[in-house]
């Protein structure tokens, strides 16, 4: 396997004795095989002060182009439906889409190299934190754009951000406790569905789930508890008791 070429002699005759062809070839190969990071990766690397963390961020399943396009399509459809029927669909969809994205920021069940990443210097907890924040931020921006485009009132446009935070925290807590991204998606979606249906049952309106000011404090408490659970589930286990 290891290249153990003769040192210092070029084909066809003697060469300078201080030329190590292995070293030369490795230098050439390094230049040829070197991947040039894209603009987003370079920017993330500067912001995070870690090229490794930036690379891990850009490999997040829910930040890949296909996922982002799917999110835009879902929210775009919600915008069209809201414009045509008046039903505020974007605020109902945005937390669910974000919760799924956050759950898929977590490795087990979705990252084939999870076992290996657990042994890396850049810890999986830090990777998860950065990924979750990025997914949350992107989904919040896309949701706000869709919500504003649908012409909803300000209370509706911004009202779902707090429920979204709670649902995302729930999905993350479930994923980390269950050690499965799919569990996180299921629990997050189920939690949001139950909340919306409960609001509908009590007030007769789906929109109560994200416009009722009474729910803000419970949402915030739920978000804080779920974040604490996620922190606990991803704590660094003591190597020695």
């Amino acid at each position: 396997m290891n290249m153990t070429g003769e040192h210092g002699h070029l084909p066809g005759g003697p060469g300078p004795l201080d030329v190590d062809l292995d070293r030369v070839w490795t230098g050439v190969a390094a230049g040829v095989w070197c991947r040039q990071p894209g603009r987003a990766e370079r920017l993330a690397g500067r912001l995070l002060r870690s090229p490794g963390l930036a690379r891990a961020l850009l490999t997040t399943p829910s930040l890949l182009l296909g996922w982002v396009i799917a999110t835009v399509v879902v929210l775009g459809t919600g915008t069209v439906v809201t414009l045509s029927t008046g039903t505020p669909l974007v605020p109902l969809l945005a937390p669910a889409v974000a919760a799924a994205g956050i759950a898929y920021a977590y490795g087990p069940g979705i990252d084939p190299a999870w076992e290996l990443t657990q042994s890396m210097a850049i810890g999986d907890r830090m990777v998860l934190l950065v990924r979750a924040l990025a997914v949350f931020g992107l989904n919040a921006i896309l949701g706000l754009v869709a919500s504003a485009a649908s012409g909803a009132a300000a209370a509706v446009t911004f009202g779902w951000l707090i429920p979204m935070t709670a649902v995302c925290a729930l999905a993350l807590a479930a994923a980390t406790l269950g050690r499965s991204a799919n569990v996180g998606v299921l629990v997050g979606l189920a939690g949001w569905l139950i909340t919306v249906l409960s609001a509908r049952a009590v007030t007769g309106q789906f929109s109560a789930a994200f416009t009722s000011t009474v729910l803000i404090v419970p949402y915030l408490i739920a978000a804080a508890c779920c974040a604490a659970i996620a922190m606990y589930a991803t704590r660094i286990p003591r190597g020695t008791p």
Binding site: M1, T26, A30, C34, L116
Partner: protein, 247 residues
């Protein structure tokens, strides 16, 4: 000593996968032998800081992996090949090795050269820009080895590294192991006793979570001279030690 294990235990429910293991290892190539379920993989995963021990003490490269800072420092100097290598099918060989070099926190300027050197060391230079989904099982194993050695680790942990390699590749791989063993601690878990005989300076035999033999390959061979069963001297030593441990 790069590896110091004292009374190391790992339980999964009621099952004790690793039962009070004591082990010390400095530079060299150490073979970890044992039947299926002996606890080799659990022991290796604890040394890779992937699995925390249930009890006992573990010191790696002179540090306690239980604390964040030392653990990170250990991981920078660690190479690990898991038994089952998960990979990203859309990555090329070079991208995959580079990804883990970056996650090992290598200085980014050193990464391209280190990636190229690691890929060449495992003989995949002609496949460096091929997608992982196009590679055979043996080639994927070599990609796994490349990511493990990309940071020139001081502690190299390899779980069944030669699974899927053809005889020629295995011979070359043993050479690579011996080279690494001159400056690093290399611990190789394997079922293949011939790998141990050819590459390892010491061998540890595990059964039911315990170490039942520790010594040189020559000493293991000597154990089987009287009543071992097997085709090769090391196999006879292996079976004799296991039989004695179980009797």
């Amino acid at each position: 000593m790069n590896v110091e294990l004292t009374e190391l235990t790992r339980r999964f429910g009621r099952t004790e996968a690793v039962a009070g293991v004591d082990l010390q290892a400095g530079p060299g190539v150490f073979g970890l032998l044992g039947p299926n379920g002996a606890g080799k993989t659990s022991l290796l995963r604890m040394m890779a800081t992937v699995l925390p021990p249930s009890s006992g003490t573990l010191r790696l490269l002179g540090r306690d992996p239980g604390s964040y800072g030392p653990r990170r420092e250990i991981r920078r100097r660690l190479g690990y090949l898991p038994q089952t290598l998960g990979y990203y099918p859309g990555f090329t060989v070079a991208e995959f090795v580079e990804y883990f070099a970056l996650l090992k926190d290598m200085p980014s300027r050193q990464v391209p050269r280190a990636v190229a050197a690691a890929i060449e060391q495992v003989g995949l230079g002609d496949r460096a820009r091929k997608k992982l989904r196009t590679l055979s099982g043996g080639m994927l194993r070599r990609v796994g080895i490349a990511q493990a050695i990309v940071n020139e680790p001081e502690l190299l942990l390899l779980d069944e590294p030669t699974a899927g390699l053809d005889p020629e590749q295995r011979v070359a791989f043993r050479t690579l192991l011996r080279e690494f063993g001159q400056r690093s601690t290399v611990i190789v878990s394997t079922h293949l006793v011939e790998d141990v005989g050819a590459a390892c300076t010491e061998v540890t035999l595990m059964d039911a979570g315990k170490i039942v033999f520790h010594g040189t390959p020559g000493e293991l061979i000597a154990q089987g001279e009287a009543h071992g069963v097997g085709d090769a001297p090391l196999e006879r030593g292996y079976t004799a030690v296991l039989a004695a441990a179980r009797s």
